[in-house]
């Protein structure tokens, strides 16, 4: 049974402590906030699979583990397959009566970074979604390969500096647009797809609960601010995430059954993307005169996307 009362953050944050504070993630890393929110929003037993990446290398270093629940890591690309086939095993054993506790509800969750989700694990994720397993895939989207020192991924936004799409005298950073993973997952016919942010913790917890309760494969993209690669002060993680959601760089919304789009957070004062970009070292070069047009392009893309999301919400398509 999911926890229904999530009124108080303090209470919520210490509920069901199944993810230990002892881990090797950078101070200020949003990955751990998101993972804790997931694990605190339900009382059900959890089987968690993680792709290779910061979360995995920081939480299961033998002989220690931060996971006080069942957890598995195989490789960089296949957490969706691990979770979905663990779910298949659950079904088989339930049928055959070989589960240690047949009545206890179990939820299957896979975590992947944007590198594993948008790039190398794309096929595995797509396969698991298509097969219709009852599981939830959560992408910790920090828009780069953080674990290996900050290389570009197909989730890296236009203009960001990464070590393999560098800003320099002849380059403004990444040239290609971010892949729209939420739309791709919705197009799989997934019953629940969302983009959530840990600063909007209530909508995030509710979104997680919905995904866990919905039968079938659900996908959630979460913005996960990375202090090391985005280059901001570790104490500012939530502040940076506020700027991300208030500038609509990361709109918070859900799509039910592939078509019913609901905007879950509507900023009272939409801020200019400049304020978001200016808060992080990875965008510093955009403020040089020759790159001003890139900031304009980013703003234009954001405005168009926001208009589209609103139109879709209204039209229910």
């Amino acid at each position: 049974m999911a926890i229904t009362s999530i009124k108080n953050l303090k209470e919520f944050s210490t509920n069901n402590d199944r993810f230990e504070g002892a881990h090797l993630l950078c101070p200020g890393c949003a990955h751990s906030m998101i993972v804790r929110e997931l694990m605190n929003c339900t009382d059900d037993n959890l089987v968690i699979a993680s792709n290779t990446g910061c979360l995995e290398v920081s939480t299961a270093v033998y002989p220690y583990t931060s996971w006080d629940t069942s957890w598995i890591h195989i490789g960089f690309e296949n957490a969706a397959t691990a979770a979905s086939c663990a779910e298949a095993m659950y079904k088989a054993r339930k049928k055959k009566g070989t589960l240690p506790d047949a009545d206890a509800p179990v939820k299957f969750v896979a975590f992947g970074g944007d590198g594993s989700t948008y790039d190398i694990g794309f096929q595995w994720l797509s396969g698991a979604m298509e097969r219709g397993h009852d599981f939830t895939y959560i992408c910790l989207d920090n828009e780069n390969y953080a674990n290996t020192g900050g290389q570009r991924s197909s989730a890296t936004p236009v203009g960001a500096h990464t070590s393999t799409a560098q800003a320099g005298s002849h380059s403004y950073g990444k040239k290609q647009k971010k892949k729209d993973m939420v739309a791709i997952m919705a197009a799989h016919g997934a019953p629940y797809v969302a983009q959530l942010a840990p600063n909007k913790w209530k909508s995030m917890a509710k979104g997680f609960q919905k995904a866990l309760e919905t039968e079938g494969p659900c996908f959630i993209n979460t913005v996960s601010a990375c202090t090391t690669e985005w280059k901001f002060d570790p104490k500012d993680t939530i502040h940076i995430t506020d700027l991300a959601t208030d500038s609509l760089m990361f709109p918070v919304y859900e799509i039910i059954d592939g078509h019913e789009l609901n905007i879950l957070y509507r900023p009272k004062n939409i801020i200019k993307v400049e304020d978001y970009l200016g808060s992080q070292g990875r965008y510093r070069h955009l403020f040089k005169p020759q790159n001003k047009h890139i900031i304009e392009r980013i703003q234009k893309d954001i405005d168009e996307k926001w208009a589209l999301l609103q139109r879709r919400e209204e039209a229910r398509i």
Partner: protein
């Protein structure tokens, strides 16, 4: 409950169907698979059992072989019996996860219907895929015909799932020559087969929440080495478990298997060492040469490719009359001697007889290997024996068109 499958005392099955029947009888909880020639019929056969109520586990048709092995790992960690099948390119695509499966000590059973690796693309049988798996930490057992493919698949579950082993097992058979050749197969009744395999015993079960487990942890220079050494020990020690399971199987069926099969070695002067369906060809050739020319030829066939049976290969070759041994490798050697040559030479070096060792590459991409060619190679060994030194290059190619290929000369004359 799954329906019982009515079986005759003798069935006419090919290797693929024999393997799929063994999987059915093992009452696997999850099969995660992807089709590829020539192993596709195993997966299709299993699909038919699912569709008709002969198994009650889950059948997950994934999007690739990498996905198939990943699914097997995830499912196995969730505490049940898991199996799959593949060949060639599919096997190659799985490689990353093969190492992860064995490192995570998950007793998955995989039937590998051996096929050449591209390029050039080729669907016929050779041992390239089997050789690709040789450092992956899996137990590798080789069936030479359809009956063996059935029998040994039943044994594979017992071996891999044994609490002292807990390692994944590959069951090999040759593409087409075994997988698509129908022959008489004597199956066990469902209940007897299942009783032989036994119930699955979960270890570090992800669905047992009274004891949370972390699978697939990170280790660096502090612990990785110890893990790998321990895994190697488990693999080496699995030899006694394999022997015990084969002994039990013999008691049940009368059919005897050994980690190394040897034929007519007691008084052999020359011998061939090889794997797979060619073993029957070599044995036939040896018998004929003994009858026709009184040539004392023997044949040695490691049934267990991993753990490599150095002990029993050495025993088989430790015959005082033995002068020359030729190892036949059905895989492109890629700039080295064939793997079988290397392993067998290592074992032979510590025999008293220390026979002369040569290597033939043969049968690549399904090139036929017939009795006459086996005889020719045997006679060539006899020429080495008579001369007292290797009279040819150490590595040669059998059945190859164009100019003769040979590499490396002996200094032992």
């Amino acid at each position: 409950m799954a329906k019982e499958f009515e079986l005759n005392e003798v069935e006419v099955w090919d290797g693929n169907y024999a393997a799929s029947q063994a999987l059915r009888q093992a009452q696997i909880d999850v099969v995660a698979a992807y089709p590829i020639t020539p192993s596709t019929p195993i997966v299709e056969g299993y699909g038919a059992y699912v569709a008709n109520g002969y198994v009650d586990g889950e059948f997950v048709m994934v999007e690739s072989e990498h996905g198939a092995m990943s699914g097997c790992v995830g499912a196995a960690a969730a505490g049940g019996r898991v199996a799959t099948a593949t060949s060639s390119q599919g096997f190659a695509l799985m490689t990353e996860v093969l190492y992860q499966a064995s490192g995570m000590r998950l007793p998955i059973v995989m039937t590998v219907v051996n096929r050449a690796l591209a390029s050039p693309l080729n669907v016929r049988g050779d041992h390239s895929d089997m050789y690709l798996g040789r450092d992956s930490g899996w137990i590798q057992i080789d069936a030479f015909n359809a009956q063996e493919a059935y029998d040994l698949a039943l044994c594979a579950f017992r071996i891999g799932e044994h609490l002292d082993v807990r390692l994944p097992v590959m069951m090999h058979q040759d593409g087409f020559t075994t997988s698509h050749k129908a022959q008489n197969v004597y199956p066990l009744k469902d209940s007897i087969a299942y009783e032989f395999i036994g119930k699955y015993i979960p270890v570090d079960d992800m669905l047992d929440f009274s004891r949370p487990v972390t699978h697939g942890a990170q280790t660096e220079e502090d612990w990785h080495y110890e893990h790998k050494a321990k895994q190697h020990k488990a693999l080496m020690d699995s030899r006694t478990v394999i022997d015990d399971v084969f002994a039990d199987f013999k008691e049940l069926t009368g059919r005897e298997y050994k980690r190394v099969e040897s034929y007519m070695m007691e008084d052999a002067e020359v011998a061939l060492v090889l794997l797979g369906s060619s073993v029957e060809t070599a044995v036939l050739a040896a018998k004929q040469l003994r009858e026709e020319e009184g040539l004392k030829v023997g044949v040695v066939a490691p049934r267990c490719f991993r753990p490599f049976p150095y002990d029993l290969v050495r025993d088989a070759l430790d015959v005082s009359s033995l002068k020359a041994v030729c190892c036949l490798d059905k895989s492109a050697p890629g700039g080295a001697m064939g793997a079988l040559f290397n392993e067998v030479s290592a074992a032979a070096y510590s025999t008293k007889a220390r026979p002369m060792m040569t290597n033939y590459v043969y049968g690549l991409g399904g090139r036929d290997f017939a009795v006459d060619e086996a005889k020719r190679i045997m006679k060539e060994q006899k020429a080495h024996a008579d001369a007292g030194h290797i009279t040819t290059d150490i590595q040669q190619f059998s059945g190859l068109r164009g100019p003769k290929l040979g590499f490396f000369k002996t200094r032992r004359d």
